[in-house]
């Protein structure tokens, strides 16, 4: 059977940093990615990042992906398997992969799950019409493959993803007649929101989509205003002709394999739903299984990188690598995380992490 000392699943910012930090400590890493390329969400992000220098602030996401990918592919301690999807967990530390149409079992000493998240759907009549796509899906189609999703695209959700993807649609030459947000306030960073507004895109708060119409594919949506208790206001329905509606109403962590491995899971809405319980250094309730990035709670690429570093260092430490530098490196990473999570934008994640902690200690 194939053997990996540390098996890292998923090569977004979390998985890449986890691989690099563990390999730098001397551990042997096998990094598995189902896409034919590394980088996860970063490869589709054309905008510049916030945060500090450690997390590559003011660099564009896809440029960060290029740097980290090169570092991982050149690192003698990292073996990269692309086009390999992890399928399931088996007893005795075995995970099966699908690689080129074959099933490949791999055993590991430690595993770091960095599978990221999937987009939430929203229910309304005809919400399954072709032309109603996840915002991330549109971003992939457009920024990775250079294919336009449509001519006139409405966005449902004014969080960071909704607003940033709207901006990217404009960049690609697509008309965006509306960003629609059910909450009374815009969730996205205001710099991004002001930018799309300046480019002429209206952001309608306290409004939502009640139905979609079209024969074989989307032709128009019906919008409605919402009152203080999120109920539709009578006689406020109006039509909007669009051929695509992007849904950007949040993400859910991709935790299936962790469920299967028996990791204890808690339901924490602020973190995106069901998330594995874990220690301060990212170890789950099952020994030698670690998590990092969106799978441990929906946050940002910057935090995903730091969590990846922490998980990689700890997995390596517990296998006997990098004993001397561990404490110091973890302390530095924790300072970075604190800095990223401070202030009003970090409130949701802070609350979520506190609530997760209240479910009890997960190992010391």
């Amino acid at each position: 059977m194939n053997k990996a000392e540390i098996l890292v699943i998923g090569s977004g910012p979390a998985g890449l940093k986890a691989s690099l930090s563990a390999a730098d400590q001397g551990a042997g890493v096998t990094l598995v990615e189902r896409d034919p390329f590394l980088g996860g969400q970063l490869v589709k992000q054309t905008h510049m990042f916030f945060g500090s220098k450690e997390q590559y602030a003011s660099e564009r996401g896809f440029k960060i992906a290029e740097k980290l990918t090169a570092a991982a592919e050149e690192h003698p301690g990292v073996r990269v398997l692309k086009g390999a999807a992890a399928l399931g967990y088996y007893d005795d530390n075995v995970v099966t992969l699908e690689l080129k149409g074959r099933v490949l079992p791999v055993s590991y000493d430690a595993m770091i799950m960095a599978t990221g998240a999937q987009e939430n759907t929203l229910m309304f009549p005809n919400c399954d019409l072709p032309g109603i796509y996840g915002a991330g899906a549109v971003q992939t189609l457009m920024n990775v493959y250079g294919v336009l999703p449509g001519k006139r695209v409405a966005m449902l959700g004014a969080g960071n993803i909704g607003v940033i993807v709207s901006y990217q649609l404009l960049q690609a030459g697509v008309e965006v007649p509306a960003i629609i947000e059910a909450a009374p306030e815009i969730g996205a960073y205001h710099v991004h929101a002001s930018k799309v507004r300046r480019m002429g895109v209206p952001i309608y708060t306290s409004q939502t989509v009640v139905s979609a119409h079209g024969s074989d594919a989307l032709e128009k949506i019906i919008m409605v205003e919402l009152d203080d208790s999120w109920q539709p206001v009578p006689d406020t329905e109006r039509e909007l002709d669009v051929d695509v509606l992007c849904i950007a109403v949040g993400l859910t962590p991709l935790t299936e394999i962790l469920f299967q491995a028996g990791c204890e899971i808690a339901y924490i809405p602020e973190l995106g739903g069901h998330v594995p319980r874990r220690s301060a250094v990212m170890e789950t309730s099952v020994a030698n299984i670690y998590i990092a990035g969106d799978v441990s709670g929906i946050e940002e690429a910057s935090a995903a990188m730091v969590e990846g570093t922490i998980a990689g260092l700890t997995a390596a430490f517990n296998l006997g690598y990098g004993r001397d530098s561990y404490e110091q490196k973890i302390a530095a990473a924790n300072l970075e995380l604190d800095a990223l999570r401070k202030g009003p934008t970090g409130e949701k994640i802070r609350t979520g992490l506190q609530n997760l902690k209240k479910t009890g200690e997960v190992r010391q």
């Binding site: 189902r34 896409d35 034919p36 054309t46 564009r60 896809f62 999807a85 999937q118 987009e119 759907t121 399954d128 019409l129 072709p130 032309g131 109603i132 796509y133 996840g134 991330g136 899906a137 549109v138 992939t140 189609l141 457009m142 920024n143 493959y145 250079g146 294919v147 336009l148 999703p149 449509g150 001519k151 960049q171 690609a172 030459g173 074989d216 594919a217 991709l254």
Partner: protein, 106 residues
């Protein structure tokens, strides 16, 4: 519809190739997902729901949801949003659950 010029990105496309979609010849670029090539050619309906036969297009574009399943070279349930396009492929709209290895699904 494809992006011709982009302020930030450059697209590295594969070789231009052709494949068939329900018997019609369509062009695309080698290695891009089948669904991306179909979308660029204006095809948005990829599958149909099992019970009510409602048209379905792609949803996630990363291989998570199965909304884009089609028959490719005779193999059913291929997630066309992640399956790389190759020259001469036969891509068909799938009826029902498909037949794997001669065993009917329904």
């Amino acid at each position: 519809m494809r992006i011709q010029v982009h302020p930030i990105l450059e697209f590295k496309k594969g070789k231009k190739i052709s494949f068939t979609y329900d018997g019609i010849t369509v062009e695309g670029y080698e290695g891009e997902p089948i669904a991306a090539a179909l979308h660029a050619a204006g095809v948005r309906v990829l599958s149909h729901s099992r019970n009510f036969k409602r048209p379905r297009g792609f949803w996630c574009a990363i291989g998570n949801c199965s909304s884009c399943n089609m028959r490719v070279n005779g193999i059913p349930n291929v997630r066309t949003c992640v399956e790389p396009l190759q020259d001469g492929m036969t891509v068909e709209t799938q009826q029902g659950r498909g037949v794997i290895g001669g065993v009917p699904g329904e």
